[in-house]
């Protein structure tokens, strides 16, 4: 369990993280979402013990993080720009991590390297950005830590690799205590992996909710009413978050249970009615009333 309580971090005049309180449960994938400069990296760097909060506290499994190797044994941090030793090969990096992490699994490293098809003796500096990300993930998974913190790690991975990593995460979560915390500015990237998401904006945590709860409460309905029917008669009774009309086809995003929403729409004797899947981006935009990450409308 990760507990952040009223965490604030400032860099000079800039408040990077502002009074964030957050709980991250074990065994779930936590997605930390926010625009560039929202404070995601700063929050993860505090979570990793790289930075110390100016105010508030962060604990992992009831342990302080900063300068606490016992606590740090439990997590692996993949920075947005992961560091590799000059001219080092993956094997050389592996040997370093092996000495650092008590549960390090060398056999797993070898197996994953083979699975991903990365050359263990090639200099990391000659790897592409995506290959470096893959290597970081392999090293992180081989460390066999309870938590893994990924800062924009999926950015740069091709869809196949992204899917492979997601599968590995899912597999590890099924087999052992494993909690990935993934920070990204790309909602789509986290859509099919996160169980819980937190939305950071301008250093503040706008929301932090279980994805199933969000999805269960917001629905996208496509509907065609009979000619001459005024939809206002039914929509006035619904919590419409978004409405789009193309010809006779109406698309509504509505808050509430699917059963209640459809029941009310049926009172208008629709010619056609269908539930569509909502993307995570749509959920955020609609549930927070934000378009294109411009959340000023919500705050002010």
């Amino acid at each position: 369990m990760i507990e952040a309580t009223n965490v604030t971090k400032r860099f000079g005049d800039i408040t990077a993280v502002d009074d964030v309180t957050l709980s991250i449960e074990e065994g779930k994938v936590f997605g930390l979402i926010g625009t560039n400069g929202a404070g995601k990296s700063t929050f993860l760097r505090m979570l990793s013990g790289v930075l110390t909060p100016d105010l508030g506290s962060i604990e992992i499994d009831d342990m302080q993080i900063f300068e606490n190797p016992e606590c740090k044994d439990n997590f692996f941090f993949i920075s947005d720009e992961a560091f590799f030793f000059l001219n080092a090969t993956p094997d050389e990096m592996e040997r370093f991590y092996e000495k650092c992490y008590p549960s390090y699994d060398k056999a797993r490293y070898e197996k994953l390297m083979e699975s991903f098809g990365l050359d263990r003796r090639r200099k990391v500096s000659t790897f592409s950005k995506g290959m470096k990300k893959q290597l970081s993930i392999i090293l992180g998974l081989s460390a066999m830590t309870k938590y893994i913190f990924c800062d924009e790690t999926f950015d740069g991975l091709d869809p196949v690799m992204r899917q492979a990593v997601k599968s590995l995460f899912a597999s590890d979560m099924a087999e052992r205590e494993f909690t990935p915390i993934i920070a990204s500015h790309n909602l789509r990237e986290l859509e099919d992996i996160c169980d819980t998401v937190g939305l950071l904006h301008k250093g503040g945590m706008l929301m932090s909710e279980d994805l199933d709860d969000i999805k269960g409460d917001v629905h996208k309905i496509q509907i065609v009413f009979p000619d001459g029917f005024d939809p206002a008669g039914v929509t006035d009774r619904l919590r419409i978050l978004e409405n789009e009309q193309r010809g006779s086809l109406h698309t509504y995003i509505v808050r509430g249970t699917e059963r209640d929403i459809k029941g009310i729409f049926r009172e208008g004797n629709p010619v056609f009615m269908e539930s569509l899947p909502l993307s995570l981006e749509e959920i955020f935009i609609t549930s927070t009333g934000v378009e294109g990450y411009d959340i000023k409308k919500i705050i002010y």
Binding site: R45, F76, F77, A82, C100
Partner: protein
């Protein structure tokens, strides 16, 4: 912590990342020691085979220039490795990526830091020691290394290692305090040299503005920078293969300093914010302090620089201009570096104002002398005793080299044992000195040398120590008017004291020196300006001569010194005792011989030494009065007239001795005479009959 990530593991992992500095260290010390050793050995063996030099001398040369502190390549190598290893080892603190990496892994920051710190030392010192051993082997296998040489080499290694450690630790501190490698270099230069620069600047300002400042050696400033301290530790006199005790003490202090700096760095690492990586300074709170520390000497240096360019007597305008420019430039440059932004040069004005106030306070202290450095004397009731040194009483070019071996100034050497208990005379002179200071301190730096040749007043230089009852000393150098009756009377009284003479004239110190330095007298040497000679004498003969010289020197009076210059100078040629650890001193001064020293001159003649008091008209062929116009035109006059020569001779004093008692004897240094002697018929050998030309100056009349 598990054994897996123990300190040793971090040490090994860190070392893997530092292969190129290690390689550089090996190559550098390979050339600086074994390769140089082979080159020197080859050259020395050739010298020995061809008979150019003897084995003992070559062994000493090998020890000194290959294994000793005179091997500049090794010293430079150590300084470069200290800088390189500190910068390379600590660069992880300056990179955001590395800060994230090392900050997140389950290893204590202090463990990582200690591993990087220790490796920086090992990378330099292990190759250094190995290469030293090779150089020892080269020396031993070629017969160029004896026990003294080995000992000297080992001492050098220890001193150099101690110096390296301190320099390295200072640069480490600079790296910890900063967040950017380029700024670290600048910070390291500041930390390494700032105290030294302060000391030099304060000394320079004191010299510039205090009229009564007691001139002292600035050697102490070498202790204020680890770099200059390293060079100082490795300084030996040219005749011995061992270092002074002070070097050993300095080395111990270097090691203690290193240990202290290691713990200070470790403590800073614990609180150093990781976000400092990439910024100029790691700790915001240090910014203002460091800026002020740099601003003050920068402003003082600029303040001293501009007046030095100006020929004007008024230095104060340029001083103020230089200080203001120095403050503005230092403040602006530092703020730009802090923020990596030119626009930052006008930020943080309050700290700049503090720097300006401190600078102003220091400069006001020197310029306006509010504490009365030049003009006040300590309360007489608190004075235990005093000492006075007049360089113009027993000076000249035949000064003793003992002060060099004792690492003490000529004045301190004479003052240190002198105890004058009659303070009336000393205070009379000191008060006259303060009056002079009050008169001249606002007229630029006075030029007493010029004034000294005027009839009235006749200023002479005098150093005074007033020893306080609390153990502290008040030291000043004054200019006093010798022609003032009260002053001359006081001078006379002091001159006549036993302690003054015994600490002024070398003859009274010679026995102690022979004993102290374990020296054996080989011969006696006498210089008379025209003749010089040496004579091997028995101990008894030397004792008799020394006694006569002591007695006649003790009888000297200031009135006599106003009339006569010395006519000769006696010294003892000495030989150090075999195996002695004292400096190898080859000459001990006995002192000047005045015309009134009839007993001394008689003994010298008895010992077969040609003395030569004054030239006789009958010996002289002609005299040339050397003169030049202001346009450098030679208008010298030849004097052949016997009557004119006879009239002139009593007024001449040998230029070799004219400056011995220049505080009392007034001579016209601007008028020189060449006295050309007749050569005995059929004789051309100057060694027997002395120089055919002797140079003289003319005494000034009353």
């Amino acid at each position: 912590m598990t054994s897996k990530r123990s300190f040793i593991n971090m040490l090994i992992e860190d070392l893997k990342r530092r292969i190129w500095p290690l390689t550089l260290s090996i190559i550098g010390f390979f050339f600086a020691l074994p390769v140089l050793a082979l080159i020197k050995a080859e050259s020395h063996i050739d010298s020995l085979r061809l008979g150019y030099d003897n084995l003992a001398s070559l062994q000493e040369s090998y020890a000194r220039y290959t294994l000793g502190g005179s091997n500049a390549l090794v010293i430079m190598g150590l300084i470069i490795m200290a800088a390189l290893n500190a910068l390379h080892g600590m660069k992880y603190l300056h990179s955001r990526q590395e800060a994230d990496f090392y900050g997140s892994i389950p290893v204590l920051r202090t463990t990582k830091f200690a591993a990087a710190y220790i490796n920086g030392i090992l990378i330099a010192i292990i190759p250094y020691i190995i290469m030293y051993i090779f150089a020892f082997v080269v020396g031993l296998s070629n017969g160029l290394l004896n026990a003294a040489g080995i000992s000297y080499g080992i001492q050098t290694m220890l001193l150099e290692t101690a110096g390296f450690l301190l320099i390295y630790s200072f640069i480490i501190i600079a790296a910890v305090l900063t967040g950017h490698t380029a700024v670290t270099v600048a910070a390291a230069l500041v930390l390494l040299f700032v105290l030294w620069a302060y000391a030099l600047l304060l000394d320079g300002y004191a010299s510039l503005f205090f009229v009564t400042r007691y001139s002292r050696s600035i050697d102490y400033t070498l202790n204020l920078s680890p770099v200059t301290l390293l060079f100082k530790m490795l300084t030996t006199d040219s005749s011995s293969l061992y270092y002074p005790v002070s070097s050993a003490i300095s080395a111990i202090l270097c090691v203690l300093g290193t240990v202290a700096l290691f713990f200070v760095s470790g403590a800073l690492i614990k609180i150093r914010p990781a976000e400092a990586a990439g910024k100029a300074m790691a700790f915001d709170k240090t910014k203002a302090v460091i800026k002020i520390i740099i601003m003050v000497p920068a402003a003082m240096a600029f303040g001293a620089f501009f007046p030095s360019l100006s020929d004007s007597n008024s230095v104060y305008g340029w001083l103020v201009f230089g200080i203001v420019m120095g403050l503005i430039l230092a403040h602006g440059s530092i703020e730009i570096i802090y923020d990596f932004d030119f626009k930052a040069c006008i930020r943080h004005i309050p700290s700049a104002v503090i720097g300006a106030v401190i600078t102003a306070a220091i400069v006001i202290y020197f310029v306006f002398d509010p504490l009365g450095y030049d003009t006040k004397l300590p309360d007489r009731s608190g004075i235990e005793n005093a000492a006075v040194y007049l360089p113009g009483i027993n000076g000249g070019s035949y000064y003793s080299e003992i002060s060099y071996y004792e690492d003490i100034s000529q004045s301190d050497m004479h003052l240190k044992n002198m105890v004058l208990t009659d303070l009336d005379d000393v205070y009379t002179l000191a008060e006259a000195g303060t009056e002079y200071a009050k008169k001249y301190r606002w007229h630029g730096t006075p030029a007493p040398e010029t004034i000294a040749y005027e009839d009235t007043p006749h200023y002479i230089e005098m150093s005074v120590i007033l020893r306080k009852k609390n153990g502290r000393e008040f030291k000043r150098s004054y200019f006093i008017d010798r022609n003032n009756d009260a002053n001359f009377s006081a001078l006379n009284n002091i001159y006549d004291t036993d302690s003054y003479k015994k600490n002024t004239y070398e003859v009274f110190m010679s026995e102690d020196r022979l004993e102290k330095y374990d020296l054996t007298v080989q011969a006696l040497s006498y210089e008379s300006g025209r003749f010089s000679g040496t004579s091997s004498l028995s101990k008894a003969a030397i004792k008799a001569l020394s006694d006569a010289l002591s007695k006649e020197t003790a009888a000297l009076t200031l009135d006599y010194l106003k009339e006569e210059a010395p006519v000769g100078y006696i010294s003892l040629n000495t030989k150090p005792a075999p195996g002695s650890k004292a400096p190898n001193i080859y000459s001990i001064p006995l002192g000047y011989v005045y015309p009134s020293f009839t007993e001394t001159l008689s003994l010298l003649n008895q010992y077969g030494i040609t003395t030569y008091e004054n030239p006789k008209a009958s010996e002289i062929d002609y005299i040339i009065n050397v003169k030049y116009t202001d346009e450098e035109e030679d208008i010298s006059e030849r004097i052949d007239n016997r009557a004119e020569i006879e009239r002139l001779l009593p007024e001449l004093v040998s230029s070799d001795f004219a400056s011995a008692n220049y505080a009392m004897l007034d001579v016209d240094n601007q008028t020189n005479y060449e006295v050309h002697f007749k050569k005995p018929a059929g004789q051309d050998d100057e060694d027997i009959y002395g120089s055919s030309i002797q140079y003289f100056v003319k005494k000034l009349g009353d």
